[in-house]
């Protein structure tokens, strides 16, 4: 039935309009600028070199330790608080970037916990945060937990028979790693490292706040500065095209390795491994897990402490705060609903192609293309739409609408990852039965799809809404005093060095983000056992 191909077509229409429109804007503006001079300029070269360098180091410092942490988690299925630790590692994904940055500052900044420890040891306090080290620490804070959660499923894929065999052969920890774990890791590592590399390559808020000046600018930040401060759209377009070209090259290089790993932690308890009882391993694993927990937990705790110790009354009484909260909520709900609807529609069509039309490759291509939007950074799309629309409309007036649409598209890969596998499973198990009983359309949605899928739908909606609530990216490009969302308000306070007010605002933002996530996930997903 052609009808079933319509939802996916609509999603692609949306994708095509927004991304195609952005590229049309970029390319039209690019025709009028001097490309040779731009590429020759030492500023451009420095920005590109720094962007790549910091992304490589960040990926290395995130994924390297993540291997140790994931292995420790895999080896210690009954480590006290293991489930809690996994939940903790889920927080940075949703945590508003600025809140995480404030946490990092609170620990590693000039008067942070780290320097106070140094002072306690009678060592010279050091100011290292506002340059490359700060960027690396913040990127590791966000991406080490993510990489850990992406890597962990590789261990659950090892069948119990393998462990029995390893035990029978008397393998020690090092042999287990070399002969069993490494071959598996080698398959997933390039993909996970690629994801982290891409996230760090296009990272915006971290570099903007911790970069400490033009010397440490990345392409993404240079793009933003060209639009907002130099009013040089031509330069912005050049940076945007450069960004797309490099990201595209990275993706083409890494395409073959992209793993299909779920974002949710697996609840399965691994089988007993032969190296589980060795004391050396126990001590190392415990140390690794405690260090990782502290690395993630301390900044979060510091944000909370500083916020509660700040001028809570004055901040809460400010009308601007509540207006920003209201705008953030509206934008987040709209973007979340749009992303979930578009992703669901696309998946319905890809399921139709896969299960009823025997076109699995076409279906997989659809899903991959939609997931690849992660490559085109939101600021690039924003700049393109800015270039396209600024001659014909007041882009600042429709800024929030653009924020909704761009964030919805950015949320699409998360929806596809969360909702895709369960949706496919429902089709595989129940398609024939539904066909034979004539359960279709509204009846099928009400009786079959919704009860079985409301949990992943709730998670997808909660995730995309929470990511939008905490986003400082597109809004920095289009936001004004009158359209400021909560992250933009927080950034303005940080930029104005109102650090006490910023600390309180950060707690409000974090509470809004996690509150929204929890309410949507529970409210939509329900409490059912499935």
């Amino acid at each position: 039935m052609i009808r079933r191909l319509v939802p996916g077509a609509l999603t692609f229409l949306l994708l095509g309009l927004v991304i195609g429109g952005a590229f049309a804007g970029l390319l039209r503006a690019a025709g009028t600028v001097d490309y040779g001079g731009f590429l020759e300029s030492s500023y451009t070269r420095r920005v590109v070199a720094f962007t790549i360098w910091q992304a490589l180091l960040s990926a290395l410092l995130s994924v390297g330790p993540a291997i140790l942490v994931a292995r420790a988690l895999a080896r210690r299925p009954s480590f006290p608080g293991r489930a809690l630790l996994l939940r903790l590692f889920g927080l940075p994904l949703v945590l508003p970037t600025l809140v995480g940055i404030l946490g990092v500052v609170a620990i590693y900044g000039q008067s942070g916990l780290f320097n106070r420890l140094l002072a306690g040891l009678h060592l010279e306090p050091r100011q290292f945060l506002y340059s490359l080290p700060g960027i690396l620490i913040a990127h590791a804070f966000f991406n080490l937990p993510l990489a850990t959660r992406l890597l962990l499923p590789a261990w659950s894929a090892i069948p119990g028979e393998t462990w029995r065999l390893a035990t029978q052969l008397g393998m020690n920890s090092r042999q287990v790693f070399r002969l069993i774990e490494w071959p598996l890791l080698r398959q997933v590592l390039p993909g996970v490292a690629g994801i982290v590399l891409m996230l760090c390559f296009t990272s915006f808020a971290v570099v903007l706040t911790l970069g400490g000046g033009p010397a440490n600018s990345t392409i993404e930040v240079a793009l933003y500065q060209a639009v907002r401060f130099e009013f040089d759209l031509g330069k912005a377009v050049q940076f945007a095209l450069l960004q797309v070209a490099i990201c595209g090259a990275l993706v083409v290089a890494g395409q073959r390795f992209v793993p299909d790993v779920p974002l949710t932690p697996t609840a399965q308890r691994p089988q007993d491994r032969p190296d589980i009882a060795a004391w050396g391993g126990r001590i190392v694993d415990t140390a690794v897990l405690l260090a990782a927990a502290a690395f993630v937990l301390l900044p979060l705790a510091a944000v909370l402490r500083n916020g509660l110790a700040g001028p809570v009354g004055a901040v809460i009484a400010d009308r601007a705060l509540w207006l920003a909260v209201a705008r953030s909520l509206a934008v987040a709900l709209a973007a979340g609903l749009l992303a979930t609807a578009a992703g669901w529609g696309l998946l319905l069509t890809s399921r139709e192609l896969r299960l009823r039309r025997y076109r699995p490759r076409a279906a997989a291509t659809m899903e991959t293309v939609a997931s690849l939007v992660l490559v085109v950074s939101p600021l690039v799309i924003g700049t393109g739409l800015f270039a396209l629309l600024s001659p014909v409309a007041d882009v600042f007036a429709i800024g929030l609408a653009l924020v909704v649409i761009i964030n919805a598209i950015m949320g699409l890969p998360y929806v596809i990852r969360t909702l895709g596998p369960p949706l496919m499973r429902v089709g595989e198990q129940h398609d024939r039965l539904c066909a034979s009983l004539g359960i279709a359309g509204w009846n099928r949605l009400r009786l079959v799809e919704w009860p079985l899928l409301r949990r992943p739908v709730g998670t997808a909606l909660a995730l995309t809404a929470a990511l939008t609530v905490g986003d400082l990216g597109v809004i920095a490009l289009f936001g004004t005093q009158d359209t400021a969302t909560l992250p933009l308000l927080l950034y303005q306070r940080m930029a104005a060095y109102q650090l006490d007010a910023a600390a309180v605002t950060a707690v409000v933002l974090a509470a809004l983000c996690f509150g929204l996530f929890a309410i949507i996930e529970r409210g939509v997903g329900g409490h059912g056992r499935r």
Binding site: L437, G438, I439, A440
Partner: protein
């Protein structure tokens, strides 16, 4: 009247070309045996409408249903598993056979209860499928086939996961329902003794074709043709109808 007739029904799945000719009389109990991958399930799926024939004609009770949607064919099919929606209780699973949106009248609910009673599940209407045994779950699916009241019942190895005694019990139930409702039954099975136990006639499917059809005992006794002999192996029919 609900005989099932397949005339040169062609279907292609990946590299396998199949073509089926088969005639099942109204009210008959036909077993379909053959090695795995031979096309037994495809044959049933074509009759039920889950697969569309590339060419040829499928008639049920004289009506050409080749291009009909599965839900309007006079057919109910039981699969090996996933016959039930795990999140709906037993009564709802049966009730879906009456109305695909579960809008049931009081009389409908009574029909559901009666069907459950007929398959021996009275009192379990509010259970979830996960609270039932494998045999009980297939009984729920049979109860639904009763309320759907379609003259042709297709069984795609629905009892394969059950032990021998339970399998016979289920076959007895199917035969009782068949006699009660004058059903035409096609049973796909891996076990020749199931065919012997329940089916008057048996079709042997191999390589996407119906190679032989005949009275079950004679077909298995004669074991004519290299393919059937290879499939049956050491299997021999004894007078008491048991495996050697």
């Amino acid at each position: 009247m609900a005989g099932v007739d397949l005339d040169a029904v062609a279907f292609r799945y990946e590299d396998m070309r199949m073509q089926f000719d088969l005639h099942v009389a109204d009210g008959e109990f036909l077993a379909v045996i053959g090695p795995s991958g031979a096309g037994k399930s495809t044959l049933l799926s074509l009759i039920a409408g889950f697969e569309r024939a590339d060419s040829g004609h499928i008639r049920i009770g004289g009506q050409d249903v080749t291009h009909e949607h599965p839900s309007v064919r006079p057919v109910t099919m039981l699969f090996q598993d996933h016959n039930l929606f795990a999140h709906l209780h037993v009564a709802a699973n049966v009730g879906l056979g009456i109305h695909p949106g579960l809008k049931l009248t009081v009389a409908d609910r009574e029909r559901v209860d009666a069907a459950l009673e007929q398959v021996g599940l009275a009192g379990l209407a509010q259970r979830l499928p996960s609270q039932l045994s494998g045999g009980e779950r297939q009984r729920v699916a049979l109860a639904r086939s009763l309320v759907r009241d379609r003259p042709v019942l297709l069984l795609d190895e629905p009892f394969a996961a059950l032990g021998p005694a339970l399998r016979r019990e289920m076959l007895d139930l199917v035969r009782a329902l068949q006699a009660d409702r004058k059903l035409t039954v096609l049973l796909v099975s891996h076990q020749p003794e199931d065919a012997l136990y329940a089916a008057t006639r048996t079709a042997f499917v191999h390589g996407g074709r119906v190679l032989q059809v005949g009275a079950t005992r004679e077909l298995l006794d004669a074991a004519a043709g290299a393919e059937l002999r290879a499939y049956l192996g050491e299997f021999q029919v004894r007078d008491d109808g048991r495996r050697n």
